[in-house]
Every structure is written in C-alpha cells, then in structure tokens.
C-alpha cells in the first residue's frame, strides 16, 4: 500500500512535482537553504524548504525517490538475474563449472563491496547507469551463493527426479521446476539487497561518487544536507532521510508479501 504510493510518486514525479529539480534554469541559488514553508523568489511555496542550490526539497525528494528506486531495484534485478543464472549453473552442473563460479564468488565477496564500487565508479565515471553497473558487480555474488545453496537442496528433491524420469529436457527442469522453488530465499535476499543497494548508493554519493550532483538521489540529498546539520538547517537532510526510511521499510514489507504470494500454499 505504502509502497504503491511511493512507486506512484516515483513514476509520476515529473507530473506532480512542483518544480523540475534537475533543470538548472528553474533553480536559483538566491533561493538556497530556505526554511520549510517559505515563499521563494519565483513565487511558490517551498513546503519542505530548499537545499543549497535553491532546489525545492519536495520536488527533489520525489525525483530522488525515482533515482534511488531505479538504482536499487534496477541493480537488484540485474544482479539477481546474473547471480541466479550463475548460481543455478553452478548447482546443476557441479564439478569444474561449480568450482570456477564459486571461486569467482569468493573473490567478489572478499573484495569489500564499497571499495569495489568505489574503484568501478572511479573508472567508469559517474552516472546512474554506472552506479547500477557497480552495484551489480558488487552484489551478484550474494544471489549466486543463495541460489546455489537452495538449488543444491532442491535438486535432491524427488520431484526433480520425477521430472528426470519423465525425460524432460534439462533446460526445462532447471527453469520450470528447479528455479521457481529456489525463489523464496532469493526474494528474501533481494529485498534486503535493494535496501542495501539504496544505502550503498547513498554512501557512494557521500564519498563523492554515485549519481550526478545535478540529479540527486535520496542518498545524495541526504549527503548534501548532512553538511548543514550542524548549523541547524535540518530539513535539507532530514526529509530525504525520512523518505529513504519509509521507502526501505515498505520494500521490506513488500518483500514479505511477495514471498507469501509466491508461496502456493497460501494461494486460494
């Protein structure tokens, strides 16, 4: 429910936001750091105040939500696809393929995520797509490990043997029989990773990488406002923080529900 609202806000931000916070022409530094509720030079009220660039926080949050969700969900989705395929392959093929993929996973997991992202971004440069790529590189291994773990268990189940006995093609067994049954733990991991990806993106922005400054995500908004925390201009950082919080909590709730929906036991 909450998530639906959040998703709608994110999708329709360009139509409902009072200002386009990414258009420099609409910003005016003379309106910078205005308190919530002040009326700006252009004549409209900044309900949640403005940041240092004179960006309307409300609009900034709406647009930021869009970016954060894109980055979080996008990276989680791609990482999930990549990781799940590799994990599946490792579990089903076993032997050398398994060994190779799992060593790769080891390598990835032992490379501190934030440093890896830092280096990838330093190399690729900033940009939403690049952040997504970095997060995918950093996160696929978690999915691979999870999927492989549950696939190894599921693979020994009798229904897989039954499918083999029915001489079904291997591809079909993997994707129609094995994969759907490995999904629940994957969804748990995915919801956690989306939250983690959003937080990681915020941290990267804080460290000066991440998304472009003119198109701030929630994390970057927080990071920007963070400097004004000591001087009492709480709103620059506080409201995006609340938005981030609500988003992540609702993602977790959706994850729980999704898990239930995917569980045939709970289907009518």
């Amino acid at each position: 429910m909450v998530f639906t609202i959040i998703a709608l806000i994110a999708i329709f931000a360009p139509w409902i936001a009072p200002q386009n916070p990414y258009d420099l022409a609409q910003l005016d530094i003379m309106d910078g750091r205005m308190e919530p509720g002040t009326v700006g030079g252009a004549g409209f009220t900044y309900w949640l105040g403005t940041d240092d660039q004179g960006r309307d926080m409300l609009s900034g949050i709406m647009y930021g939500l869009r970016i954060s969700l894109t980055v979080g969900a996008g990276s989680a989705l791609i990482a999930c696809l990549v990781g799940a395929s590799l994990g599946m392959m490792a579990a089903y093929a076993g032997g050398r393929t398994d060994g190779l993929i799992m060593r790769l996973v080891d390598l990835q997991l032992s490379f501190p995520a934030i440093l890896a992202a830092l280096m990838i971004l330093a190399f690729l440069g900033k940009g939403i797509l690049n952040v997504v790529i970095a997060l995918v590189v950093v996160e696929w291994a978690y999915y691979a490990r999870t999927v492989r773990g549950s696939a190894l268990v599921e693979r020994r189940r009798e229904y897989i043997e039954a499918a083999q006995c029915l001489a079904l093609p291997t591809r079909r067994i993997i994707f129609r029989h094995l994969l759907p049954n490995c999904l629940p733990p994957l969804i748990v991991v995915a919801t956690m990773q989306i939250a983690r990806a959003i937080a990681l993106e915020a941290t990267l922005s804080f460290l000066g990488l991440g998304v472009p400054i003119t198109e701030p995500s929630l994390g970057l908004l927080i990071a920007n406002g963070y400097e004004y925390m000591l001087s009492g201009k709480y709103w620059i950082s506080f409201y995006p923080g609340i938005a981030l919080l609500v988003t992540i909590v609702s993602i977790n709730l959706v994850g729980d529900q999704l898990r239930d929906v995917l569980n045939p036991r709970l289907k009518k």
């Binding site: 080891d106 032992s110 501190p112 330093a122 956690m192 927080i222 992540i248 977790n252």
Partner: protein, 324 residues
C-alpha cells in the same frame, strides 16, 4: 584438517593473485597518480622525473611483474605518498581498525542477541514488533548520517563522549590499543556502535528466526519433557543452536565491517586502515591500495577459516574433512 588447510591456502593464493592483478589494472584505469601528487607548478621535466622515480615509466605488465617479483620477497612496494613500505603503513593502522571491528561485532552481539531472543520468544508482543521494526532502520539508515547524529547528540549536545579520534592508547604486543584505557574505550564507543548498526539488525533478525525455528524442534520439546526449567531450555538448548547461524553470518560479515569502516573511520577521524585506504584511493597511491586489498583478502580468508573452525566447534555434526 591438513587437506582443509592446504585447500584454503591454495584458494587464498589464487584469489590474492587475481586480486592484485585486478587492482593493478583498476588503479591504472582510474587515473595517473603523478597528476595528483605532483605540485601544480611542476614543469614537464619535473613531471618526467617523478614518473621515473615512482617506477611508472614502464609498461603496465612490466610494472606488475616487478611488483610480483618483489611481493614474493615480502616487499609490497613503497607508498608514493608516505615513502614508507606499504605493508608497514597498513600494519601500523591495522590494530585501530581491528579493534573497532571487534568492538562493533561485540556490540552487535551484546545488543542483538538479547533483543532477537526476546523477539523470537514472544513473537506476538508489541515490544517484539517494535524491535523488528526498528531493526529495519539498521539496514536503511546511511552509516555516515547516523555517525554524525551520534556525534551531534552524544558529543556536542550532551558532552558524554569524546567526538572523534582514538584517545589514549596503551601498548600490548608492541602495538597500540585503545581498548586498554578508559579514555580509549570512551573514544571507541560511538564509532563501534555506528559500525555495528547494520550488524545489530542482522543479529536480531537471525536470532529471532533461529529462535522461532528452534523452538519448534523436537529436541526442545524433549528438553521440556525432561522437566528442565524454561531458563535452561532457552539458554542452553535453544541458544546454542541459534548461535551457529549467528556466528557464521557475523563472522562472514566481519570482512564487510572492515570495509565499511572506511566511512565510519573518516567521520570519527579514527586512524585505521579504512581512512588510509580512502586517502590512498584519493591520491591513487597504488602500492598501498594493492597491499591493502591483498591483506584484506588474506584476512577474509583467515576469517572464513576461523568461522569454519568455530562452526565445527559449535556444531559437532560438521566434520571439517567433509566440508568441500
């Protein structure tokens, strides 16, 4: 056991090698350290001299071979910035980071286990629901933001704790440690909590899930059927079983903790490896970056080893030989 160690050792070697190559290429791709290090008024001649001095005039593959050759003799190169052996620099900073990471892990267990236990034993009470809801915060609040909030509240407003730095240290085994002095401990509290935030949530969730699962097990019911007190059932029979996943995950997360100390250390001016590495990345001090990551990988592998050993201590069913 021997096989197990041997296997780990070989894996470690492969991973370390791959890592060093990756980092070498990575740093090369990011930028040119000379551009950053050199004085802006340095002319072309000076620039060339610096490039030669840092050994950056060779083709990359030759630089890598030179590095490998020296690395085999235990020399991971000298820092461009500090002109000290990279290894030594990192080892100097390591205790600070390690004790912070340990402090955080300890805090996570100290706070997370009881809360998780409570939430698991009384899943329907409102307190438990509160605990679980709050634990989501631990996943979602950005570390840097929480760090500053902590400083604002506990150092600036309340003045209870020192804001930054490492405080007094005492020497043990030739290294400096903060946890041996009161002042040092006081300095450690906030960064450790900050770093622990994510783990606390993790421990709460793992513990709760573990408790709920274990409580349904026959052996718990059997323990009760033996007439044991609820305390003994909870703290011996249930607790020891949930400790296994908790220890495993927390152990594996230890590597992540060290990595995330990058952020915490820079906020709390904690002079550990994390700050060193972020500074080094900022000036592309390649020898330090490479050495750091190699050490991290080694540490990660060691941690995994220790986790596996602990695991087999906690769970008698796991024989080391049978672990692939």
């Amino acid at each position: 056991m021997t096989v197990f160690l041997l296997r780990r050792l070989m894996q470690a070697a492969v991973v370390v090698l791959a890592m060093s190559l990756l980092v070498f290429i990575g740093v090369y791709a990011i930028g040119d350290p000379v551009e950053i290090l050199i004085s802006p008024e340095a002319d072309q001649i000076e620039r060339e001299r610096a490039i030669a001095a840092l050994g950056l005039d060779l083709p990359l593959w030759q630089q890598y071979l030179v590095f490998l050759g020296k690395a085999l003799q235990g020399d991971l190169g000298r820092s461009f910035v500090f002109n000290e052996p990279a290894l030594q620099l990192i080892l100097q900073r390591m205790p600070a980071t390690l004790e912070l990471a340990f402090g955080a892990t300890f805090a996570a267990l100290l706070i997370g286990l009881p809360l998780g236990l409570y939430a698991g034993l009384r899943p329907d009470s409102s307190v438990s629901k509160g605990i679980m809801a709050t634990s989501i915060l631990g996943f979602s609040l950005p570390t840097f933001w929480v760090g500053l909030m902590l400083i604002m509240v506990f150092a600036v407003q309340l003045g209870w704790l020192p804001s930054t730095g490492r405080g007094e240290t005492a020497e043990l085994f030739g290294l400096r440690w903060s946890f041996l002095t009161w002042d040092g401990l006081a300095h450690m509290v906030m960064p450790a909590i900050n770093l622990a935030l994510f783990k606390i949530s993790l421990v709460i969730r793992l513990t709760r899930a573990g408790v709920r699962e274990t409580m349904l097990m026959d052996y718990v019911k059997f323990a009760r059927a033996k007439g044991l007190s609820p305390a003994r059932v909870t703290f011996v029979h249930v607790f020891k079983n949930i400790l296994i996943p908790v220890v495993t995950v927390v152990g594996l997360e230890f590597g992540g903790t060290i990595a995330f100390s990058v952020v915490t250390e820079s906020i709390f001016a904690w002079p550990g490896m994390g700050k060193l590495i972020i500074d080094s990345i900022n000036v592309l001090d390649r020898p330090v970056i490479v050495a750091y990551l190699m050490i991290i990988v080694l540490m990660f592998i060691t941690i995994n080893l220790v986790v596996d050993l602990t695991y087999s201590l906690l769970d008698p069913r796991v024989r080391l030989e049978s672990k692939a």
